[in-house]
Each structure stands twice: as C-alpha cells, then as structure tokens.
Subunit: 266 residues, 2 copies
Amino acid sequence: MLELRLVQGSLLKKVMEAIKDLVNDANFDCSATGFSLQAMDSSHVALVSLLLRSEGFEHYRCDRNISMGMNLNNMSKMLKCAGNDDIITIKADDGSDTVTFMFESPTQDKISDFEMKLMDIDSEHLGIPEAEYHAIVRMPSAEFARICKDLSSIGDTVVISVSKEGVKFSTRGDIGTANIVCRQNTTVDKPEEATIIEMNEPVSLTFALRYMNSFTKGTPLSNMVTISLSSELPVVVEYKIAEMGYIRFYLAPKIEEDEDETRPQA
Amino acid sequence: MLELRLVQGSLLKKVMEAIKDLVNDANFDCSATGFSLQAMDSSHVALVSLLLRSEGFEHYRCDRNISMGMNLNNMSKMLKCAGNDDIITIKADDGSDTVTFMFESPTQDKISDFEMKLMDIDSEHLGIPEAEYHAIVRMPSAEFARICKDLSSIGDTVVISVSKEGVKFSTRGDIGTANIVCRQNTTVDKPEEATIIEMNEPVSLTFALRYMNSFTKGTPLSNMVTISLSSELPVVVEYKIAEMGYIRFYLAPKIEEDEDETRPQA
DNA sequence: TACCCATGGA
DNA sequence: TCCATGGGTA
C-alpha cells in the first residue's frame, strides 16, 4: 500500500514538465526514504535523477519498496488536470498494475481521481558515485536558461569554462561566435541573484546545447541552478526542490577532438 | 426597417465567438420580442438557441418580423473589428439583402460601418418543448470548462452523473480513467463560486466531449453555467447573458450500448 | 514534438 | 505593465 500526499501539488506538475521531454518511460521508486526516479533520456546520453524526500510530503505511507513503471507523457497529461493549488495524492495498492492520482481542490469542493496503467520497464539503476568537482557554479536558473537558449541560436555546443573571475559560456556556428561571461557576484543584496563560483581548479568542457536546453526545463522548480564540472566527469545541472529534494541532470562532455571545434571562444 | 443599438457591444462579440465554431450559417430572427437564433451545428448533432431580448438594447426598432441568413464566420470577422467598448448597432432596410453593423467608439471619435451580404438559409425552426429535468446543476462556468477540457485529454466521452452529494464527470481512455466530483456548495461567501444541484432523481448520461468543449466557448458570457439533465432528453447547457437573455446548447446523450464503454468510472 | 507568438489575467 | 498560459506553426 502506497499513499503519498503532497500539499504543494504544483511541485509534482513542474517536475513532470521538467522531465517528460527528456524521458519517455521510467520507474518511480518508492521507499521509506522518499519518492525517486532515475532514468536515461531516450537517446541514452543524458541521465535524470529525481528525489522527493518523504519528509516533504504531508502524509507518506510506503509499506514496502516498490518500483512503478510509468509513461511520463501519460502521467503528465493527468497531472495537467490538477489545479496548481491542488493537493495531490499518489496511491497504489499492493500488487496493483495501476496507480491513482487524486487531486483535491483547496476548498475540497472538487475531488478528482485519475487512474493510470503501470508498465514494466527494464530499470537500469546506475549508482552515481559522489565525486569531487573542479568547479561548482551557482547562478540564477533563469539566467542560465537564457544563456543556453541564446547560444543555441548560434551554435550546437557550448564550452563552459570556469576561472576565478567567472564562468564563460561560448559557442560558435556558421554565422559567428558568442561568448557570455558571468562574473562571480556575491555582493548583491538579493541572494537569489547571486552568482557564486567555487573553484578548485580551472576547467573547460564542451556540451551539446540540445541537452542543456532540455535541462533548463527545470527552471520553474528553483530560482537557482548549480552546475558542477570536472574534466572527464559528466556535468551535473541541479535544481533544488524546496523542502523536498532535487532534480539533477547529468551529461557527459564532448571529447575535444579537433582544436577548431573545441575552442569556439576563438 | 431594423435598427438595434446595443451599448455593450462586447456581448455580441462574445456571442459570436461562442457560436461560430459550432454553426456555419444561420438565420437571425428579429421580432418585437428580441433578436434570436436557433440552429443545428454543422454535423446536425447539437442545437444552439440564442435569445437577446429587445429590452436589453438601448434602442430597438423592428417594424416587422424578419429573418436574416448570415454566415457566422463572416459576421464574426466583422464583429472582431469592433472595439470591446464600442456601441454596436445592427441595421437592415426592408427588402435589403444586406445587413449593416455600425461600431461607435466610446468617445464617438471613430465610427465604423460594415455591410455584409445576407444569405438564403433553409431554416428548420424546431419547437423546443419545455421539459422537466431530473437534475439541474448550476456551477461556475470556468470550472465546467476546465473539467471538459481536462477530461478530453483522457477520453472522448463524458458520463455526467448527478446524485444528492454532487455531480460526477467521468471518462475513460487508452491511458486510464478519470473521475471528477464536484460537491454541492451553496455556503460559499461568493455566489459566483457556488455549485448548486437541484435533483428530482439521480441521472447518469453520456455525452461526446467534443461538443461539450464547443459549448464551453460560451464561458466568457457568464460566470455560471446551468446544466439540465434528464434521461432520454438532450442535455441543456445554458449561459445567461446579463440583462438580455441566454445562449443554450442542446446535445442528445449517447445511447449506452455496452456496459464496458459506458461506465468509465470503472 | 518543440518553439514562438498572441492573448488573457494578476 | 509584466507574466503565464494556451494555441498555432514549423
């Protein structure tokens, strides 16, 4: 028996919006710890890791560990039927091949339940090792999204370079080149506009903008995004989910084969 | 000679928006009583009935009963040229095969007139008998629209069931099932958020969501919608038009042939 | 399916 | 006036 009651249902709606473009089908794993998901994107290049801790739910009952395979598009369709202020409850009976989403309007005058068939999905639960990163950039998520979108109108890949002074996003394409530098700025009054760079050593890595732009679908979840970089490790783009956990996107850097292609900063 | 002056011209604009998706051509009937229309939708499944009473017009002159066939798309195009605050006057000379729409801006600084050709349309004016309904549901129109839209992302038909406790909207589709229950709530402070159910006997009827979604184009006309249900009678979905009349949509229930298809609430 | 634009609400 | 949402287009 599974019953998870989430007062701020809009969180789950946003989470689905952030994931569904990247992943078609995935197993949601439910344990006493929380509600989590780990899945490769459909082209097996990027990895998504979601955690919603049990403490973030108003009510959390999970009698035994369970893995529920869902089609994220269908799940997303159903969650779109929840109001943004609705309380969402996820329910599954033991041994059932369906999951039920229940939506309660704030006034309790409208109660909806949506039942969805579960799927069998080969789960490939990768252990993600804790790693030391050469550099960790924390910046406003909207700014990062804007940069990725802007650069993708010029080129296909982005070089992210971190030095003491700041983080540089560079691309090059047929029509020209682009470099966007964000300086560290901790001094702003508003912490939600700070850009903070922790750097152990300089790093410069290249990524496909297509995936970065998918990752930025997580922007509505948090004002800030954290980008963790190490040479020869996948980048981690993380959006914290208030009081509950996070959604993390992993993407391996492009191997820099050709000097011309790898230094868009020209 | 016909001359109808409507100070709140936006009403007529909204009426057209509500009808034009459903009906292509229709006769507007004008008499001393008011300005009215009755038409089947283009697939001859649903019926629209509109009444704008003469008292709702600032000036209403209609020397003799007249029926004017109009292409609603063209009429709508013209009405879109009226500002939302404009005063609209509808004019037709006796024996003329055109109708003129005149728009006056609130400041009187801009006066437009649009002349449109009339059409000959076979009118099939059905008498709509007054009927007793098993149940009448009055609820916020936006909520009804939201429900129809949400359910149509899951299935093609909706079962509307009324009991003392509330009204239930159910559907089923390939990806699962959905049930939305709205409880009666007369106690809210704001009458525009009340859901009121008058029930003589329980009723459960199935309708095509496609038409329901067309009907909800009437939402901008009124905060509230009234849904009148009886077994073996067409449902009536009514939007009152302030001070003037109403727009009513009629749709026959689907005959429930197969138990499996007709009880989406599973 | 993803992006862009237009529209309606806060 | 700005933001968010929904519909249309590529």
